[in-house]
Symmetry: C2
Subunit: 226 residues, 2 copies
DNA sequence: TGTACATCAGTGAACGCGCGTTCACTGATGTAC
DNA sequence: TGTACATCAGTGAACGCGCGTTCACTGATGTAC
Protein backbone atom coordinates (compact mmCIF):
# COMPACT_ATOMS: atom_id res chain seq x y z
CA UNK A 1 0.00 0.00 0.00
CA UNK A 2 2.99 2.27 -0.30
CA UNK A 3 1.95 5.08 -2.61
CA UNK A 4 5.35 6.00 -3.93
CA UNK A 5 7.78 3.16 -3.27
CA UNK A 6 10.81 4.23 -5.26
CA UNK A 7 11.61 5.62 -8.64
CA UNK A 8 13.41 3.53 -11.19
CA UNK A 9 13.31 2.71 -14.83
CA UNK A 10 12.28 -0.94 -14.83
CA UNK A 11 9.18 -2.02 -16.73
CA UNK A 12 7.07 -1.79 -13.61
CA UNK A 13 8.21 1.78 -13.05
CA UNK A 14 7.25 2.75 -16.51
CA UNK A 15 3.85 1.19 -16.01
CA UNK A 16 3.41 3.10 -12.77
CA UNK A 17 4.28 6.39 -14.40
CA UNK A 18 1.82 5.73 -17.16
CA UNK A 19 -1.05 4.92 -14.83
CA UNK A 20 -0.28 7.93 -12.67
CA UNK A 21 -0.59 10.06 -15.74
CA UNK A 22 -3.87 8.41 -16.68
CA UNK A 23 -5.22 9.14 -13.23
CA UNK A 24 -4.25 12.79 -13.47
CA UNK A 25 -5.77 13.11 -16.90
CA UNK A 26 -9.01 11.61 -15.69
CA UNK A 27 -8.95 13.94 -12.69
CA UNK A 28 -8.53 16.98 -14.90
CA UNK A 29 -11.29 15.86 -17.19
CA UNK A 30 -13.51 15.53 -14.17
CA UNK A 31 -12.60 18.99 -12.92
CA UNK A 32 -13.29 20.35 -16.36
CA UNK A 33 -16.70 18.78 -16.67
CA UNK A 34 -18.10 18.72 -13.19
CA UNK A 35 -17.99 21.78 -11.01
CA UNK A 36 -14.72 22.89 -9.48
CA UNK A 37 -15.27 20.67 -6.44
CA UNK A 38 -15.91 17.56 -8.51
CA UNK A 39 -12.83 15.60 -7.75
CA UNK A 40 -13.88 12.19 -6.51
CA UNK A 41 -11.41 9.36 -6.28
CA UNK A 42 -14.08 6.77 -6.90
CA UNK A 43 -15.28 8.55 -10.01
CA UNK A 44 -11.75 8.84 -11.34
CA UNK A 45 -11.17 5.15 -10.72
CA UNK A 46 -14.32 4.26 -12.57
CA UNK A 47 -13.26 6.45 -15.47
CA UNK A 48 -10.01 4.58 -15.96
CA UNK A 49 -11.69 1.23 -15.43
CA UNK A 50 -10.52 0.32 -11.98
CA UNK A 51 -11.98 0.16 -8.50
CA UNK A 52 -11.52 2.98 -6.02
CA UNK A 53 -8.94 1.51 -3.67
CA UNK A 54 -6.60 0.79 -6.58
CA UNK A 55 -5.73 4.47 -6.74
CA UNK A 56 -4.02 4.23 -3.40
CA UNK A 57 -1.23 2.38 -5.18
CA UNK A 58 -0.45 5.61 -7.00
CA UNK A 59 -1.33 8.44 -4.71
CA UNK A 60 -1.19 8.55 -0.92
CA UNK A 61 -4.62 10.15 -0.78
CA UNK A 62 -6.91 12.70 -2.36
CA UNK A 63 -4.88 15.67 -1.19
CA UNK A 64 -1.67 14.34 -2.72
CA UNK A 65 -3.34 14.01 -6.06
CA UNK A 66 -4.72 17.52 -5.78
CA UNK A 67 -1.35 18.96 -4.84
CA UNK A 68 0.25 17.28 -7.79
CA UNK A 69 -2.34 18.73 -10.12
CA UNK A 70 -1.69 22.19 -8.72
CA UNK A 71 2.05 21.89 -9.10
CA UNK A 72 1.65 20.61 -12.64
CA UNK A 73 -0.63 23.51 -13.48
CA UNK A 74 1.82 26.09 -12.14
CA UNK A 75 4.52 24.48 -14.20
CA UNK A 76 2.39 24.46 -17.28
CA UNK A 77 1.40 28.09 -16.92
CA UNK A 78 5.02 29.10 -16.33
CA UNK A 79 6.25 27.28 -19.39
CA UNK A 80 3.50 28.75 -21.55
CA UNK A 81 4.62 32.19 -20.42
CA UNK A 82 8.30 31.38 -20.87
CA UNK A 83 7.63 30.12 -24.36
CA UNK A 84 5.85 33.35 -25.20
CA UNK A 85 8.63 35.45 -23.74
CA UNK A 86 11.23 33.55 -25.72
CA UNK A 87 9.38 33.66 -29.02
CA UNK A 88 7.85 37.09 -28.60
CA UNK A 89 8.85 40.43 -30.06
CA UNK A 90 11.94 42.19 -28.78
CA UNK A 91 10.16 45.45 -28.05
CA UNK A 92 9.45 45.40 -24.31
CA UNK A 93 5.94 46.81 -24.50
CA UNK A 94 4.92 44.44 -27.26
CA UNK A 95 6.40 41.58 -25.33
CA UNK A 96 4.46 42.46 -22.21
CA UNK A 97 1.31 42.57 -24.31
CA UNK A 98 2.09 39.13 -25.67
CA UNK A 99 2.64 37.83 -22.16
CA UNK A 100 -0.66 39.20 -20.94
CA UNK A 101 -2.39 37.57 -23.87
CA UNK A 102 -0.65 34.28 -23.15
CA UNK A 103 -1.73 34.42 -19.54
CA UNK A 104 -5.28 35.09 -20.58
CA UNK A 105 -5.21 32.40 -23.23
CA UNK A 106 -3.95 29.80 -20.80
CA UNK A 107 -6.69 30.57 -18.31
CA UNK A 108 -9.37 30.55 -20.99
CA UNK A 109 -8.18 27.28 -22.44
CA UNK A 110 -8.23 25.53 -19.08
CA UNK A 111 -10.34 27.49 -16.65
CA UNK A 112 -10.58 24.56 -14.27
CA UNK A 113 -6.82 24.53 -13.89
CA UNK A 114 -6.66 28.27 -13.45
CA UNK A 115 -9.21 27.95 -10.69
CA UNK A 116 -7.17 25.20 -9.14
CA UNK A 117 -4.33 27.66 -8.76
CA UNK A 118 -6.06 30.75 -7.48
CA UNK A 119 -9.25 29.69 -5.83
CA UNK A 120 -9.60 29.50 -2.11
CA UNK A 121 -8.40 26.15 -0.80
CA UNK A 122 -11.11 23.56 -1.18
CA UNK A 123 -12.51 21.96 1.97
CA UNK A 124 -9.62 22.29 4.33
CA UNK A 125 -7.03 21.65 1.68
CA UNK A 126 -3.74 23.15 2.71
CA UNK A 127 -2.83 25.56 -0.01
CA UNK A 128 0.10 27.90 0.61
CA UNK A 129 2.12 24.93 1.77
CA UNK A 130 5.78 25.56 1.10
CA UNK A 131 5.90 23.35 -1.97
CA UNK A 132 3.06 25.24 -3.57
CA UNK A 133 4.51 28.67 -2.98
CA UNK A 134 7.69 27.42 -4.55
CA UNK A 135 5.84 26.00 -7.53
CA UNK A 136 4.25 29.37 -8.21
CA UNK A 137 7.53 31.23 -8.55
CA UNK A 138 8.58 30.51 -12.14
CA UNK A 139 5.44 32.02 -13.64
CA UNK A 140 5.90 35.18 -11.61
CA UNK A 141 9.49 35.24 -12.72
CA UNK A 142 8.61 35.63 -16.37
CA UNK A 143 6.33 38.54 -15.62
CA UNK A 144 8.97 40.22 -13.48
CA UNK A 145 11.49 40.01 -16.28
CA UNK A 146 9.14 41.53 -18.79
CA UNK A 147 8.28 44.43 -16.53
CA UNK A 148 11.94 44.97 -15.68
CA UNK A 149 12.81 45.31 -19.33
CA UNK A 150 10.15 47.94 -19.65
CA UNK A 151 10.92 50.04 -16.60
CA UNK A 152 14.18 51.80 -17.33
CA UNK A 153 13.85 54.23 -14.48
CA UNK A 154 12.04 52.42 -11.69
CA UNK A 155 8.70 54.08 -10.90
CA UNK A 156 8.06 55.66 -7.58
CA UNK A 157 6.61 53.50 -4.83
CA UNK A 158 5.90 54.54 -1.22
CA UNK A 159 8.63 53.68 1.26
CA UNK A 160 6.79 51.15 3.38
CA UNK A 161 5.46 49.31 0.35
CA UNK A 162 8.95 49.25 -1.09
CA UNK A 163 10.29 47.75 2.13
CA UNK A 164 7.81 44.89 1.98
CA UNK A 165 8.66 44.10 -1.59
CA UNK A 166 12.34 44.24 -0.76
CA UNK A 167 11.85 41.51 1.82
CA UNK A 168 9.67 39.45 -0.47
CA UNK A 169 12.26 39.75 -3.22
CA UNK A 170 15.04 38.54 -0.95
CA UNK A 171 13.01 35.69 0.43
CA UNK A 172 12.47 34.30 -3.05
CA UNK A 173 15.76 34.86 -4.76
CA UNK A 174 14.84 37.76 -7.02
CA UNK A 175 17.74 39.85 -5.79
CA UNK A 176 18.30 41.59 -9.07
CA UNK A 177 14.76 42.93 -9.37
CA UNK A 178 14.27 46.51 -8.15
CA UNK A 179 11.58 46.58 -5.50
CA UNK A 180 9.57 49.12 -7.44
CA UNK A 181 9.45 46.73 -10.36
CA UNK A 182 8.29 43.93 -8.09
CA UNK A 183 5.59 46.20 -6.72
CA UNK A 184 4.43 47.29 -10.15
CA UNK A 185 4.45 43.72 -11.45
CA UNK A 186 2.28 42.66 -8.57
CA UNK A 187 -0.19 45.37 -9.41
CA UNK A 188 -0.31 44.28 -13.03
CA UNK A 189 -0.77 40.70 -11.97
CA UNK A 190 -3.64 41.58 -9.65
CA UNK A 191 -5.37 43.48 -12.43
CA UNK A 192 -4.81 40.70 -14.89
CA UNK A 193 -6.11 38.18 -12.42
CA UNK A 194 -9.28 40.18 -11.89
CA UNK A 195 -10.03 40.44 -15.57
CA UNK A 196 -9.23 36.80 -16.22
CA UNK A 197 -11.30 35.63 -13.30
CA UNK A 198 -14.34 37.57 -14.36
CA UNK A 199 -13.92 36.33 -17.90
CA UNK A 200 -13.66 32.65 -17.07
CA UNK A 201 -16.54 32.81 -14.63
CA UNK A 202 -18.67 34.21 -17.41
CA UNK A 203 -19.33 37.61 -15.93
CA UNK A 204 -18.49 39.46 -19.12
CA UNK A 205 -20.41 36.91 -21.14
CA UNK A 206 -23.54 37.60 -19.16
CA UNK A 207 -22.98 41.31 -19.79
CA UNK A 208 -22.71 40.62 -23.51
CA UNK A 209 -19.23 42.06 -23.62
CA UNK A 210 -16.07 40.84 -25.30
CA UNK A 211 -13.37 41.72 -22.78
CA UNK A 212 -10.51 41.88 -25.29
CA UNK A 213 -10.52 45.61 -25.09
CA UNK A 214 -10.09 45.50 -21.32
CA UNK A 215 -6.82 43.65 -21.65
CA UNK A 216 -5.52 46.13 -24.17
CA UNK A 217 -6.45 49.06 -21.99
CA UNK A 218 -4.92 47.29 -19.03
CA UNK A 219 -1.53 46.94 -20.64
CA UNK A 220 -1.40 50.35 -22.23
CA UNK A 221 -2.47 52.06 -19.00
CA UNK A 222 0.13 50.05 -17.15
CA UNK A 223 2.90 50.95 -19.54
CA UNK A 224 1.95 54.59 -19.34
CA UNK A 225 2.01 54.44 -15.53
CA UNK A 226 5.65 53.33 -15.38
CA UNK B 1 -45.00 21.58 3.02
CA UNK B 2 -45.39 24.80 1.09
CA UNK B 3 -42.20 26.74 1.53
CA UNK B 4 -43.63 30.20 1.12
CA UNK B 5 -47.39 30.12 1.59
CA UNK B 6 -48.26 33.79 1.69
CA UNK B 7 -46.98 36.92 3.28
CA UNK B 8 -48.95 38.67 5.95
CA UNK B 9 -48.46 40.34 9.26
CA UNK B 10 -50.20 37.96 11.64
CA UNK B 11 -48.31 36.51 14.57
CA UNK B 12 -47.50 33.40 12.59
CA UNK B 13 -46.04 35.48 9.78
CA UNK B 14 -43.82 37.33 12.15
CA UNK B 15 -42.63 34.04 13.57
CA UNK B 16 -41.89 32.75 10.10
CA UNK B 17 -39.87 35.81 9.18
CA UNK B 18 -37.87 35.51 12.34
CA UNK B 19 -37.03 31.84 11.82
CA UNK B 20 -36.12 32.50 8.19
CA UNK B 21 -33.66 35.08 9.41
CA UNK B 22 -32.22 32.68 11.96
CA UNK B 23 -31.70 30.11 9.23
CA UNK B 24 -29.89 32.60 7.04
CA UNK B 25 -27.70 33.73 9.90
CA UNK B 26 -26.75 30.17 10.69
CA UNK B 27 -26.04 29.55 7.03
CA UNK B 28 -23.73 32.53 6.84
CA UNK B 29 -21.94 31.50 9.99
CA UNK B 30 -21.41 28.11 8.44
CA UNK B 31 -20.09 29.59 5.22
CA UNK B 32 -17.77 31.80 7.24
CA UNK B 33 -16.35 28.98 9.30
CA UNK B 34 -16.36 25.97 7.05
CA UNK B 35 -14.98 26.19 3.57
CA UNK B 36 -16.94 27.98 0.87
CA UNK B 37 -18.81 24.82 -0.01
CA UNK B 38 -19.88 24.17 3.55
CA UNK B 39 -23.55 24.85 3.29
CA UNK B 40 -25.40 21.86 4.61
CA UNK B 41 -29.08 22.04 5.44
CA UNK B 42 -28.77 19.41 8.12
CA UNK B 43 -25.91 21.24 9.77
CA UNK B 44 -27.84 24.52 9.69
CA UNK B 45 -30.85 22.81 11.20
CA UNK B 46 -28.77 21.38 14.00
CA UNK B 47 -27.28 24.80 14.66
CA UNK B 48 -30.66 26.38 15.27
CA UNK B 49 -31.85 23.39 17.26
CA UNK B 50 -34.21 21.76 14.82
CA UNK B 51 -34.22 18.66 12.62
CA UNK B 52 -33.33 18.84 8.94
CA UNK B 53 -36.74 18.50 7.33
CA UNK B 54 -38.07 21.41 9.36
CA UNK B 55 -36.16 23.81 7.11
CA UNK B 56 -38.40 22.87 4.22
CA UNK B 57 -41.13 24.90 5.91
CA UNK B 58 -39.04 28.00 5.24
CA UNK B 59 -37.12 27.37 2.05
CA UNK B 60 -38.14 25.31 -0.95
CA UNK B 61 -34.72 23.69 -1.07
CA UNK B 62 -31.02 24.27 -0.72
CA UNK B 63 -30.75 26.34 -3.89
CA UNK B 64 -33.47 28.73 -2.81
CA UNK B 65 -31.66 29.43 0.39
CA UNK B 66 -28.43 29.98 -1.50
CA UNK B 67 -30.05 32.33 -3.95
CA UNK B 68 -31.52 34.35 -1.14
CA UNK B 69 -28.13 34.66 0.49
CA UNK B 70 -26.67 35.88 -2.79
CA UNK B 71 -29.38 38.46 -3.31
CA UNK B 72 -29.00 39.67 0.27
CA UNK B 73 -25.26 39.99 -0.19
CA UNK B 74 -25.62 42.03 -3.37
CA UNK B 75 -28.03 44.30 -1.56
CA UNK B 76 -25.73 44.66 1.37
CA UNK B 77 -22.73 45.50 -0.77
CA UNK B 78 -24.74 48.01 -2.77
CA UNK B 79 -25.99 49.78 0.31
CA UNK B 80 -22.53 49.89 1.83
CA UNK B 81 -21.32 51.58 -1.35
CA UNK B 82 -24.31 53.90 -1.50
CA UNK B 83 -23.75 54.92 2.10
CA UNK B 84 -20.13 55.72 1.31
CA UNK B 85 -21.07 57.70 -1.78
CA UNK B 86 -23.61 59.71 0.17
CA UNK B 87 -21.38 60.47 3.12
CA UNK B 88 -18.14 60.81 1.20
CA UNK B 89 -16.21 63.87 0.07
CA UNK B 90 -17.54 65.98 -2.76
CA UNK B 91 -14.33 65.87 -4.76
CA UNK B 92 -14.88 63.18 -7.40
CA UNK B 93 -11.44 61.62 -7.15
CA UNK B 94 -11.56 61.47 -3.37
CA UNK B 95 -15.02 59.99 -3.57
CA UNK B 96 -13.90 57.28 -5.95
CA UNK B 97 -11.08 56.47 -3.57
CA UNK B 98 -13.54 56.20 -0.72
CA UNK B 99 -15.72 53.89 -2.80
CA UNK B 100 -12.85 51.62 -3.64
CA UNK B 101 -11.93 51.44 0.01
CA UNK B 102 -15.52 50.66 0.91
CA UNK B 103 -15.65 47.87 -1.64
CA UNK B 104 -12.44 46.44 -0.30
CA UNK B 105 -13.58 46.79 3.28
CA UNK B 106 -16.83 44.99 2.62
CA UNK B 107 -15.06 42.08 0.98
CA UNK B 108 -12.49 41.86 3.75
CA UNK B 109 -15.11 41.99 6.46
CA UNK B 110 -17.13 39.16 4.93
CA UNK B 111 -14.99 37.25 2.49
CA UNK B 112 -17.40 34.33 2.45
CA UNK B 113 -20.14 36.60 1.18
CA UNK B 114 -17.89 38.19 -1.39
CA UNK B 115 -17.06 34.72 -2.65
CA UNK B 116 -20.72 33.91 -2.76
CA UNK B 117 -21.18 36.71 -5.25
CA UNK B 118 -18.26 36.25 -7.55
CA UNK B 119 -17.15 32.67 -7.36
CA UNK B 120 -18.02 30.18 -10.02
CA UNK B 121 -21.42 28.66 -9.41
CA UNK B 122 -21.19 25.88 -6.86
CA UNK B 123 -22.07 22.36 -7.97
CA UNK B 124 -24.50 23.04 -10.78
CA UNK B 125 -26.03 26.01 -9.05
CA UNK B 126 -27.59 28.30 -11.59
CA UNK B 127 -25.93 31.62 -11.15
CA UNK B 128 -26.61 34.27 -13.77
CA UNK B 129 -30.28 33.55 -13.43
CA UNK B 130 -32.24 36.65 -14.25
CA UNK B 131 -32.99 37.50 -10.64
CA UNK B 132 -29.32 37.43 -9.76
CA UNK B 133 -28.22 39.64 -12.62
CA UNK B 134 -30.85 42.09 -11.53
CA UNK B 135 -29.72 41.95 -7.93
CA UNK B 136 -26.20 42.85 -8.95
CA UNK B 137 -27.16 46.10 -10.66
CA UNK B 138 -27.42 48.56 -7.76
CA UNK B 139 -23.83 48.06 -6.66
CA UNK B 140 -22.57 48.63 -10.17
CA UNK B 141 -24.73 51.70 -10.32
CA UNK B 142 -22.90 53.43 -7.52
CA UNK B 143 -19.59 52.83 -9.20
CA UNK B 144 -20.88 54.11 -12.52
CA UNK B 145 -22.04 57.33 -10.92
CA UNK B 146 -18.72 57.96 -9.29
CA UNK B 147 -16.80 57.40 -12.47
CA UNK B 148 -19.22 59.58 -14.41
CA UNK B 149 -18.63 62.46 -12.05
CA UNK B 150 -14.93 62.09 -12.65
CA UNK B 151 -14.88 61.81 -16.42
CA UNK B 152 -15.77 65.20 -17.78
CA UNK B 153 -14.67 64.44 -21.29
CA UNK B 154 -15.38 60.77 -21.90
CA UNK B 155 -12.16 58.84 -22.55
CA UNK B 156 -11.54 57.22 -25.88
CA UNK B 157 -12.73 53.64 -26.31
CA UNK B 158 -12.52 51.53 -29.48
CA UNK B 159 -15.66 51.48 -31.60
CA UNK B 160 -16.61 47.83 -31.25
CA UNK B 161 -16.10 47.89 -27.50
CA UNK B 162 -18.18 51.04 -27.32
CA UNK B 163 -20.97 49.34 -29.23
CA UNK B 164 -21.10 46.45 -26.79
CA UNK B 165 -21.27 48.75 -23.83
CA UNK B 166 -23.97 50.76 -25.51
CA UNK B 167 -26.10 47.66 -25.75
CA UNK B 168 -25.35 46.61 -22.23
CA UNK B 169 -26.22 50.07 -20.99
CA UNK B 170 -29.57 50.00 -22.74
CA UNK B 171 -30.42 46.53 -21.58
CA UNK B 172 -30.03 47.56 -17.97
CA UNK B 173 -31.48 51.02 -17.89
CA UNK B 174 -28.33 53.08 -17.57
CA UNK B 175 -29.30 55.24 -20.51
CA UNK B 176 -27.67 58.37 -19.17
CA UNK B 177 -24.23 56.81 -18.79
CA UNK B 178 -21.83 57.44 -21.68
CA UNK B 179 -20.60 54.14 -23.05
CA UNK B 180 -17.00 55.10 -22.51
CA UNK B 181 -17.72 55.64 -18.85
CA UNK B 182 -19.38 52.24 -18.65
CA UNK B 183 -16.35 50.68 -20.29
CA UNK B 184 -13.91 52.45 -18.02
CA UNK B 185 -15.93 51.55 -14.93
CA UNK B 186 -15.88 47.94 -15.93
CA UNK B 187 -12.13 48.06 -16.22
CA UNK B 188 -11.82 49.59 -12.79
CA UNK B 189 -14.16 46.99 -11.38
CA UNK B 190 -12.17 44.14 -12.91
CA UNK B 191 -8.97 45.50 -11.43
CA UNK B 192 -10.56 46.02 -8.07
CA UNK B 193 -11.97 42.54 -8.14
CA UNK B 194 -8.57 41.06 -8.87
CA UNK B 195 -6.89 42.85 -6.01
CA UNK B 196 -9.70 42.07 -3.58
CA UNK B 197 -9.80 38.42 -4.60
CA UNK B 198 -6.10 37.93 -4.11
CA UNK B 199 -6.28 39.71 -0.78
CA UNK B 200 -9.14 37.68 0.68
CA UNK B 201 -7.64 34.42 -0.53
CA UNK B 202 -4.50 35.28 1.35
CA UNK B 203 -2.16 35.57 -1.61
CA UNK B 204 -0.68 38.85 -0.47
CA UNK B 205 -0.50 37.57 3.07
CA UNK B 206 1.64 34.66 1.99
CA UNK B 207 3.87 37.13 0.15
CA UNK B 208 4.20 39.17 3.34
CA UNK B 209 2.74 42.21 1.65
CA UNK B 210 0.19 44.75 2.80
CA UNK B 211 -1.80 45.45 -0.35
CA UNK B 212 -3.04 48.90 0.71
CA UNK B 213 -0.58 50.50 -1.61
CA UNK B 214 -1.95 48.52 -4.55
CA UNK B 215 -5.39 50.04 -4.09
CA UNK B 216 -3.97 53.53 -3.96
CA UNK B 217 -1.97 52.99 -7.10
CA UNK B 218 -5.01 51.46 -8.73
CA UNK B 219 -7.19 54.48 -8.19
CA UNK B 220 -4.58 57.08 -9.03
CA UNK B 221 -3.56 55.26 -12.20
CA UNK B 222 -7.20 54.97 -13.13
CA UNK B 223 -7.91 58.64 -12.56
CA UNK B 224 -4.87 59.57 -14.60
CA UNK B 225 -6.02 57.31 -17.43
CA UNK B 226 -9.34 59.13 -17.88
C1' DT C 1 16.11 -22.01 -20.93
C1' DG C 2 13.34 -23.33 -16.98
C1' DT C 3 11.82 -23.04 -12.46
C1' DA C 4 11.01 -20.80 -7.66
C1' DC C 5 10.14 -16.88 -5.41
C1' DA C 6 9.29 -12.13 -4.25
C1' DT C 7 6.94 -8.17 -5.70
C1' DC C 8 3.12 -5.63 -6.51
C1' DA C 9 -1.52 -4.23 -9.05
C1' DG C 10 -6.01 -4.67 -8.31
C1' DT C 11 -10.36 -6.64 -6.06
C1' DG C 12 -14.39 -6.75 -3.12
C1' DA C 13 -16.24 -6.14 1.20
C1' DA C 14 -16.59 -3.20 4.82
C1' DC C 15 -16.21 1.14 7.91
C1' DG C 16 -18.55 5.32 9.25
C1' DC C 17 -20.03 9.29 7.58
C1' DG C 18 -22.91 13.00 5.53
C1' DC C 19 -25.85 14.63 2.06
C1' DG C 20 -30.81 16.55 0.18
C1' DT C 21 -35.27 15.30 0.22
C1' DT C 22 -40.15 12.75 0.95
C1' DC C 23 -43.62 11.26 3.83
C1' DA C 24 -47.04 10.27 7.33
C1' DC C 25 -47.80 11.86 11.52
C1' DT C 26 -48.23 14.58 16.29
C1' DG C 27 -49.09 18.39 18.89
C1' DA C 28 -49.40 23.18 19.58
C1' DT C 29 -51.26 27.63 18.08
C1' DG C 30 -54.29 30.96 16.24
C1' DT C 31 -59.10 31.83 14.53
C1' DA C 32 -64.10 31.86 13.91
C1' DC C 33 -68.34 31.30 15.94
C1' DT D 1 -65.64 34.04 27.30
C1' DG D 2 -65.59 29.33 25.78
C1' DT D 3 -65.48 25.82 22.55
C1' DA D 4 -64.57 23.54 17.81
C1' DC D 5 -61.86 23.48 14.04
C1' DA D 6 -58.38 24.51 10.66
C1' DT D 7 -53.71 25.71 10.15
C1' DC D 8 -49.15 24.84 10.41
C1' DA D 9 -44.34 23.90 12.80
C1' DG D 10 -41.68 20.26 13.70
C1' DT D 11 -40.53 15.13 14.26
C1' DG D 12 -38.58 10.68 13.15
C1' DA D 13 -38.01 7.22 9.96
C1' DA D 14 -36.74 6.24 5.56
C1' DC D 15 -34.84 6.65 0.59
C1' DG D 16 -30.90 6.36 -2.29
C1' DC D 17 -26.77 8.19 -2.92
C1' DG D 18 -21.77 9.19 -2.74
C1' DC D 19 -17.68 10.02 -0.23
C1' DG D 20 -12.46 8.71 1.41
C1' DT D 21 -10.18 5.13 3.24
C1' DT D 22 -8.68 0.26 5.46
C1' DC D 23 -7.99 -4.42 5.00
C1' DA D 24 -7.19 -9.22 3.80
C1' DC D 25 -6.73 -11.41 -0.13
C1' DT D 26 -5.91 -13.19 -5.30
C1' DG D 27 -3.50 -13.50 -9.31
C1' DA D 28 -0.31 -11.86 -12.58
C1' DT D 29 4.35 -10.15 -13.56
C1' DG D 30 9.17 -9.54 -13.37
C1' DT D 31 13.55 -11.37 -11.37
C1' DA D 32 17.26 -14.34 -9.68
C1' DC D 33 19.29 -18.59 -9.81
Amino acid sequence: MAAEPRTGTGPRDRFRAQVRQEVKTAALRQLAEGGPEALSLNAIAKQIGVTGPALYRYFANRDSLLTELVVDAYGDLASALARTAAAGPADPAARLTALVQAYRAWALAEPHRYRLLFRAPLQGYDAQAASLVEASQPAMNVLLDAVSALAESPPRVPQDAAAQFREWRERHGFEDVPEAVAARSTLLWAHLHGTVTLEIEGNFGSMGIDPSWLYEAEVSDFVRSL
